[in-house]
C-alpha cells in the first residue's frame, strides 16, 4: 500500500441512555477536545481534513454535514459527511492520507438516539417502500427472522446467544464508559421477554448516546507525535443485495467479504493465529456469533461452541467484545463501529484499564449498519 496511516488520537464520551444536559454539538465537542489533547494537536492549525459519519434521518436534519465543522474545529477546512458505519468513515479518512493529499484527518461519529422519538419508524424507512413497508411490521422482525434461520442452519442455539449476552454485559462492568453492564446469568437471559421470536429483549442491544473522535495521521507525522501509533494494517467493506426476499438469511456474507478485503490488504492468512482480540458488531446477540464465523475466526456454526468453551472471554484465546460491545456498552447507531475501533486501539496501546488484555499486538474491529442492512466494514489494527 502507499502511505502508511496510524491512529494518533482517541477521544470519546461515556455512553449513556440519556444525555439531556448537552446538545449533540456539545457532546461531540467533548470527544473532540479529548482526541486532540490525546494526539497533542491543535485542530485549528494541525488538522487538515474532517470526516464525519451521520445519517440525516436519525439526526432529524437534512444535509447534516453543514452542522459538523464547528464542534470539530473543522471550520474552513475540507469536510465530508458519510452516511455509513464509523469504519466507513475511517476508511475514507485512511484513503485521504494514503493517497497523499493530506497528513492529519479527524474522524467523528456520534449517537443521540435518545432524541429520536420514533426510532423504529425511522428504521422502517430503510425498508423497500413498495415491497416491504406496507406490511407495517416493526423492523426488529428482520433480526428475528435472521436469527431464526441462522440457528436453524448453523446448529447454534438460543443458549449460545444467551452466553454472548451474559459475557458482554459482564465485560461492560469493567468498562467505565459502558452504559448497560450487568451481572446477568445466561439462564436469566434465556428467560427474558420475547420481542420477535426467537429474539428476546436482552438479545437486543439497547441504544445509547455518545460521541467518538479518532485522529489519523501519516507515518511521518504519527511518529513525530506519539511513541504508540496504532497502525491501520488493512481495511475492507462490503454490501450484499438489500433484498429481504433473496438474501442469504443464515449467513453474513457481507461480513465474510469485508473481512476478506481487510485480511488481503493487511496480508493476514489465518485470523485466529494472527489476531489477538476482536471488537465485532453485536447489535443482536446472534450477530456476534454470525460475525465471528464470517470473519474467519472459526468454521460456520462453531461460534456458539467457541463461546461456550470460553474462547471469547477476556481470559480466552480470542477475547471478543472485551469492552462489553453494544449489548453491554449501548448501541450507538452508526457510531458503533468507531467505538469498536477505539476499544481495539486502547487495548493495543495498553490503555484499556480494568478490561485490558495482556500482550495484544493485533486486533480487528467490525461494524454492521443494523437492520435491514447487509452493510459491514472491518479494520485490522496493529501496535
Amino acid at each position: 500500500m502507499s502511505q502508511e496511516v496510524a491512529i494518533v488520537g482517541i477521544g470519546y464520551t461515556s455512553f449513556r441512555p440519556l444525555t439531556p444536559e448537552v446538545s449533540y454539538k456539545e457532546l461531540v465537542y467533548e470527544a473532540a477536545v479529548k482526541a486532540y489533547e490525546d494526539a497533542g494537536l491543535d485542530p485549528r492549525s494541525d488538522v487538515d481534513s474532517i470526516v464525519s459519519v451521520a445519517e440525516d434521518f436519525t439526526e432529524g436534519t437534512s444535509i447534516f454535514d453543514e452542522y459538523v465543522p464547528d464542534q470539530l474545529g473543522g471550520m474552513l477546512k475540507p469536510n465530508v459527511t458519510i452516511p455509513g458505519d464509523g469504519i466507513h468513515g475511517l476508511a475514507t479518512a485512511y484513503m485521504q492520507i494514503a493517497s497523499g493529499i493530506v497528513d492529519v484527518v479527524a474522524v467523528e461519529a456520534h449517537s443521540k438516539a435518545s432524541n429520536v422519538l420514533t426510532l423504529p419508524r425511522i428504521t422502517a424507512y430503510a425498508m423497500d417502500p413498495v415491497l416491504n413497508r406496507p406490511l407495517r411490521a416493526n423492523p426488529v422482525f428482520i433480526a428475528g427472522m435472521e436469527m431464526n434461520r441462522y440457528l436453524y442452519t448453523s446448529g447454534a442455539t438460543r443458549e449460545h446467544c444467551a452466553l454472548v449476552v451474559a459475557k458482554n454485559k459482564r465485560n461492560a462492568l469493567l468498562n467505565p464508559a459502558a452504559a448497560f453492564g450487568a451481572a446477568l446469568e445466561p439462564d436469566q437471559a434465556l428467560d427474558s421477554e420475547m420481542v420477535a421470536y426467537p429474539l428476546s429483549v436482552v438479545d437486543i442491544s439497547p441504544h445509547a448516546d455518545g460521541a467518538i473522535v479518532v485522529v489519523l495521521a501519516s507515518a511521518e507525522v504519527a511518529q513525530s507525535l506519539t511513541d504508540v501509533p496504532i497502525w491501520i494494517r488493512g481495511i475492507g467493506w462490503c454490501n450484499d443485495s438489500p433484498s429481504l426476499e433473496n438474501r442469504a438469511w443464515g449467513r453474513a456474507i457481507y461480513a465474510e467479504e469485508a473481512g476478506r478485503m481487510a485480511y488481503r490488504t493487511a496480508g493476514i492468512r489465518n485470523a485466529m493465529d494472527e489476531i489477538d482480540l476482536a471488537e465485532i458488531d453485536d447489535a443482536y446477540s446472534y450477530k456476534e456469533l454470525q460475525h465471528l464465523e464470517a470473519l474467519g475466526f472459526c468454521e460456520y456454526g462453531r461460534g456458539g461452541f467457541l463461546t461456550a468453551d470460553g474462547v471469547t472471554e477476556i481470559e480466552g484465546a480470542l477475547p471478543v467484545n472485551a469492552s462489553g460491545g453494544s449489548i453491554g456498552g449501548g448501541h450507538l447507531l452508526d457510531a458503533s463501529g468507531l467505538r469498536a475501533v477505539v476499544e481495539v486501539a486502547l487495548q493495543l496501546r495498553g490503555e484499556a484499564g480494568a478490561h485490558q488484555i495482556p500482550g495484544v499486538e493485533t486486533g480487528l474491529a467490525f461494524g454492521w449498519r443494523g437492520v435491514p442492512s447487509t452493510s459491514g466494514a472491518a479494520v485490522i489494527l496493529s501496535s
Partner: protein, 168 residues
Amino acid sequence: MTVKIDKFPGVYLHESDFEQGRVLYNTWDPQAQYAWDAGIAIGRYLSELKQGHLVGVRCNQCRRTVVPPRAFCEWCFRPMDDWVNLPDTGTVNTFSLCYVTWDMQYLTEPQIPAVIDIDGTRPSVGIMHLLGDVDPKKVHIGMRVQAVWKPEEERTGSILDIRHFKPV
C-alpha cells in the same frame, strides 16, 4: 418550440388513470419525530428568552461576542468565557420579501425574514428572525429595529417568544 406541437406522440396519462387504478403507485407518510436536547448554551439562551432577555457569549481569545450563544468558540476551539446581556435592538443586515409559504402557497403580503445584527455583538453578528409592523416597501438594509416580545404568560422558551422585530 413546443408551442407548434398540437399533440405529443405517446400515451397520455390522466388523473383518472391514477384514480381508477390503471396506473399503480404507493404512498407513505413519514413518522419522524425528534426532541433535540438544547444543551448548555442554547438551553440557557431559550430560558433567557422566556424571561424576555437576549443573551450572548464572549470569547476572550478572539474577543468576539456572539449570539445565539454557543458553548465553545468555533474559531479558537476553546470554551466561551462570559455570558453577556445584549439589548433587543439591532440593524437589518439582510432581508428578503418572501411571497411563498413553505408549502408553496402564494402570499399577497410577503413574509419578511431578516438577519438582525444585534447591538453589542462584536464583530456584529445577527439572529435570524422575521420583520413585522412594517410596510414591505419601506424595509431596507441598515434599518434600525427592535424585538416585539410576546406577553410573559405566552412565552415558552422558544425563538418565537420574540414575535418579530419592528422598526424603531
